[in-house]
Amino acid sequence: MNEPNLDLKPESPPEEMKENGAALEAEGAAVGLVEVIETEDEGKDPVIQTPLVEVKNLYKEFDETVAIAGISFEIYPGEIFGFIGPNGAGKTTTIKILSTLLDPTSGNLTIDGLDVIEEPEKVRRIIGYMPDEFGVYRGITIWEYMDFFAGAYRVPRSKRKGVIEGVLELTDLAVHRNRHVTTLSKGMRQRLCLAKTLIHDPKFLILDEPASAMDPRARIELRALLKELQTMGKTILISSHILTELSDVCTSFGVLEKGKILRSGRLGGGTVIENEEEKPALKFKLKFHSACPEAYAVLQNCPEVLSHQFVTPEENEIELEFTEDPSQFYKVIKLLVDRSFPLLTVEAENEDLERVFLEVTRGDLQ
């Protein structure tokens, strides 16, 4: 299962948790959801803004092969859009078209109001593209590599030093500035490429598998960096096979298969938000030490529980669904604990990226 597991802590009374939602912030899905809901309540809903990226009816054909079959999506300013799909689904093709490296067969694409097909030169200035596979130049140092890209993006010479230093600090490469780029590990090269992508302060970042070669620590650092970039006002499109990586940082997603977007939506704390207007229902899975029909009977009589069912034939796992109000969930859990049922774990069962991905994609070879 995904990360959002909530181990029950009987010593923490539900009332306190209700009063102080922030205490749970680091923990998991339910709290992440609250965070999103609060954000929306504060009137920061990105849906009301004009989209930064608009893709309409995008088609791309290579000879007889249809790589992209009429996809449309929008990305709003400040969003981190996760682009997921199996190999050959058309993610990289879409990304290359957005990056002005490929021409579409048809379709309309705009980034910050600029037509990607008509005004590629202007588009290049506002995007930062990081490909999934890339090489580095031989015989030059990290600093010289960055200096080349700063020049190539026409960063004024007088400001170049400061910009390069800033970006290297941001990506933790400052201490390695005089190392030759060919001596870097693959993970460090990815960080270098990310640093290069940021050199001209682009509004929109297009990251194709940015963490594919990174070690676990570097991945965690990348997630933190992406969030930091988001707070800096960057809009990010990120494609990755590692769904946990995306679900933690993305605010919206699109699932692509065989050149079509099968599903898209918004994410909050790793959970898919089904409906923008209504707060989503909460799903949990309770696991008991042994078969516990008594607990099931108690849950049947709880008005707070919208639905309930045994998951396993051993009758030791029960799936529950609550309304969007977390306090009802706390009440029920307290009830079970007070009655000393042998409760082992409580897992959030809300729809996450992994589940969505498995549901909508068929896993056929593309």
Partner: protein, 557 residues
């Protein structure tokens, strides 16, 4: 945040000396584009660079030492001892022959990986995503490759200095020798960059460049006797049976004293510049993907039609040329001129680069008569035909108005030449206009940026100069002396007046040209229409006023 704040830093002013120091400190960063800077850094830090340098110097130094040693040996033998001047001459020749072969053998491998290396390394996409335009990228690559190779060429200068100690060599000859090597290096660099832009693998690119160089080498070896006069012209002396034979002035003297006599060299120079520019432009247009308006099949149809027409016309006229090789060659030479001129004109007004504002397109689309065409044609094809027609009209009128009045003053041979020229003029115009469409459809069309405009301007500005030079003295048309026909065929006596000349004059008159223009445009239009219908039947996507045809139909365009 760090980025934004550092971007906002104010630029500090500095004194003159400070600026100079800064300039020096940033060298070679100040020298050209970031690409050039990066390439120079990378290239000159390679071990291969020092190995190549050492190898070249060793080979040349070895040859010089061997030359001097063999001279010492010959002094003791029964052979006649060479004078100091003869030895110097001999070493000088050996030096440049070896340099020539070094350039031909080593440099292709150095130049042929300019872009393929980027592709195989995986940095090509990163490069294309930058704010650099294609011309900057190609120019940076070209300069970097040329500098890399020329460093090796000029590193041999001290060795050349040794040979000059023996005498028998002038400064002009050294300049001319190095001039040829520089020209050859630049040509190889451009060839390497061009091929590497089209091929994806390093090995393939190197093989193709070597093949092309080999073909050129064979060609130049075959035609070597024809280039000997060029040596005379350049003032380069030759060794013939042990004697120094030196005819003509030195290279520098020739340029300074007889600028008029240097027209062959100037022609050669222009020819090279034009070829160079073509390679450059085609390379720039290769490295960026270009939006295709899907009218290429239509243009291809037009091209085939016009090519057939031109071929048939040529066939009709060929029997009359059978006894007049000179005239045939002249027409061929003039066709070369027209090829370059018209191709540039057409590329200048190429369909994708017309950049006709949509506002104007929409205004046109409101007119009933034109709306019909807009529905059928792509905007590119429509404007292409409009421009072609206008160009034909204006070009014909200008040529006839300036040159036709002079025809009465010419002798019969002159009249024959001019009538041939004018007869073929519209056909070439159409043919190359169509070729221009075709090239633009295949993504050759130059994107408009500084360097493209610069090259087009320079070459267009130079063409009248070539004409004027070509018409001086005995010269009639430029490229006459360097066309392959003139190399392989000797010139005969001018033929007598062609009796059928009046027919050409009649055919070449302005009303007929206009009528021909209307006819060709109409036929081309019909073919385009048929092509469009076929494309629609095949459900090929079509652009119409910047929208896809189906959307445009819905909008009532």
């Amino acid at each position: 945040m760090a980025i934004s704040s550092s971007l906002a830093t104010e630029n500090k002013r500095s004194s003159f000396t400070g600026s100079f120091k800064k300039l020096w400190k940033n060298f070679p960063g100040n020298f050209g584009s970031p690409i050039l800077q990066k390439e120079l850094r990378g290239n000159f830090r390679k071990n291969g660079f020092f190995i190549i340098h050492t190898l070249c110097l060793t080979v040349i130094a070895g040859a010089i030492v061997w030359g001097v040693m063999s001279h010492s040996e010959s002094a003791t033998s029964t052979q006649e001892k060479l004078t100091s001047v003869q030895l110097g001459r001999s070493l000088f020749d050996t030096f440049f022959v070896i340099q020539y072969f070094i350039v031909l053998i080593i440099f292709p491998a150095l130049t042929a990986t300019a872009f393929t290396e980027e592709r195989t390394r995986g940095s090509y996409d990163l490069l294309l995503c930058t704010d650099l335009n294609p011309s900057e990228i190609v120019l940076g690559k070209l300069l970097a490759t040329s500098i890399y190779c020329l460093t090796t060429v000029f590193a041999t200068l001290p060795l050349l200095a040794i040979t000059t100690l023996f005498g028998g060599v002038s400064f002009g000859e050294i300049a001319a020798g190095y001039g040829i090597l520089i020209g050859l290096t630049l040509a190889l660099s451009m060839l390497g960059v061009f091929i590497s832009a089209w091929v994806s693998s390093n090995i393939m690119s190197i093989l193709i460049v070597y093949s092309v160089v080999f073909m050129f080498f064979i060609y130049s070896a075959m035609t070597w006797p024809y280039f000997v006069p060029l040596f005379d012209f350049l003032g380069i002396a030759k060794l013939e049976e042990g004697e120094i034979v030196k005819t003509g002035d030195t290279f520098v003297g020739m340029i300074l004293k007889h600028i008029g006599g240097g027209k062959e060299l100037l022609r050669l120079g222009f020819y090279s510049v034009i070829t160079f520019a073509y390679f450059f432009i085609f390379t720039t247009n290769r490295i960026r993907p270009k939006a295709d308006d899907h009218s290429s099949p239509l243009r291809a149809l037009t091209l085939v039609f016009l090519a057939c027409l031109a071929f048939l016309n040529w066939q009709d006229l060929s029997p009359e040329f059978a006894n007049h090789k000179l005239a045939e060659e002249e027409v061929f030479s003039s066709s070369l001129i027209l090829f370059f001129f018209l191709l540039f004109v057409v590329l200048r007004f190429s369909t994708e680069s017309l950049m006709v504002p949509r506002r104007i397109c929409r205004r046109f689309s409101r007119w009933r008569g034109i709306r019909f065409f807009y529905r059928i044609f792509t905007p590119g094809a429509f404007w292409g035909f409009v421009f072609t027609f206008v160009l034909i009209l204006l070009g014909s009128l200008s040529f006839y108005s300036t040159l036709m009045p002079a025809i009465d003053d010419l002798d019969s041979w002159g009249k024959y030449r001019y009538t041939q020229f004018f007869t073929f003029f519209p056909f070439y115009f159409f043919g190359f206009a169509a070729l221009g469409f075709c090239l633009s459809a295949w993504g050759f069309t130059p994107g408009y940026n500084f360097w493209t405009v610069f090259f087009i301007f320079i070459i267009t500005a130079l063409l009248p100069l070539i004409f004027s030079i070509g018409q001086q003295g005995d010269g009639i048309f430029c490229f006459y002396y360097i066309s392959p026909f003139t190399i392989f065929q000797s010139l005969g006596e001018p033929p007598p007046m062609n009796e059928k000349a009046p027919r050409y004059l009649l055919f070449g008159s302005v009303p007929v040209i206009v009528a021909a223009g209307v006819f060709f445009t109409t036929v081309g239009t019909l073919l385009t229409w048929i092509g469009t219908l076929l494309a629609r039947k095949a459900k090929a996507p079509m652009l119409c006023l910047g929208k896809w045809a189906d959307e445009a139909k819905q909008d009532g365009v």
